[in-house]
Amino acid sequence: MSTELPFLVELLVSALILAGAGFAVIGALGLARMPDFYMRVHLPTAGTTLGVGCTLSASVIYFSFSLQTLSVHEFLISMFLFITAPVSSHMMAKVALHTGVKFVDHTQGRPWPSRTQRPSRDNSQILSDWQTRDRKETE
């Protein structure tokens, strides 16, 4: 941080960095506080998209002004993160559905009962839930 930036640029970069850090903390707080996995899987999206996105845009602006050339390395990283974040959270939700992760009562929607795969241990509550739902549907 040796070169002097114009005041407005410095203000913009600082605001973006602080906003990014704030979004990351909100995401992590939700990850630590939410009651079950299906709610928790939403939160890192905020941290990825807005937190790291803001930090990377701040880095683009800072290095473009301090090196006097357009610096677009960061767009590679942010593009890569934005493309891969939905894929990995889709995979994790799939793992949660197939291994039968427990959920709290007010989670909206119910995982579809898998009839081909035997649910793992610790799962009797989900099973009875499915059975009551199937009974309701047949009635």
Partner: protein, 89 residues
């Protein structure tokens, strides 16, 4: 001002890493731990970028890029292993 903002943001990202660590230690299921590892590498990327701004060096982008790629591959590999029992079928 920028120096102060970077330091504060690093502290906030550290708090978020610690919250993630809490969830990883406590997480009741395997999937929670996978999710937390995913979130941890994303926060690590942000901290590396901030360190690059702090030191005024562009050398850290390659490290961040590598962590992004390897972290994604790791998450998908662990998910695939839990789902199917092996990674490359």
């Amino acid at each position: 001002m920028l120096r102060f903002a970077v330091i504060v943001a690093m502290l906030l990202f550290t708090v978020s890493l610690l919250l993630n660590l809490y969830r990883m230690v406590r997480g009741p299921d395997l999937v929670d731990r996978i999710l937390t590892l995913d979130s941890l590498y994303v926060n690590a990327i942000a901290i590396i970028i901030l360190l690059g701004i702090f030191l005024g060096s562009t050398l850290f982008f390659e490290a961040a890029m590598l962590i992004a790629m390897m972290g994604f591959v790791g998450t998908v590999a662990v998910c695939k292993y839990v789902l199917r029992g092996n990674i490359i079928e």
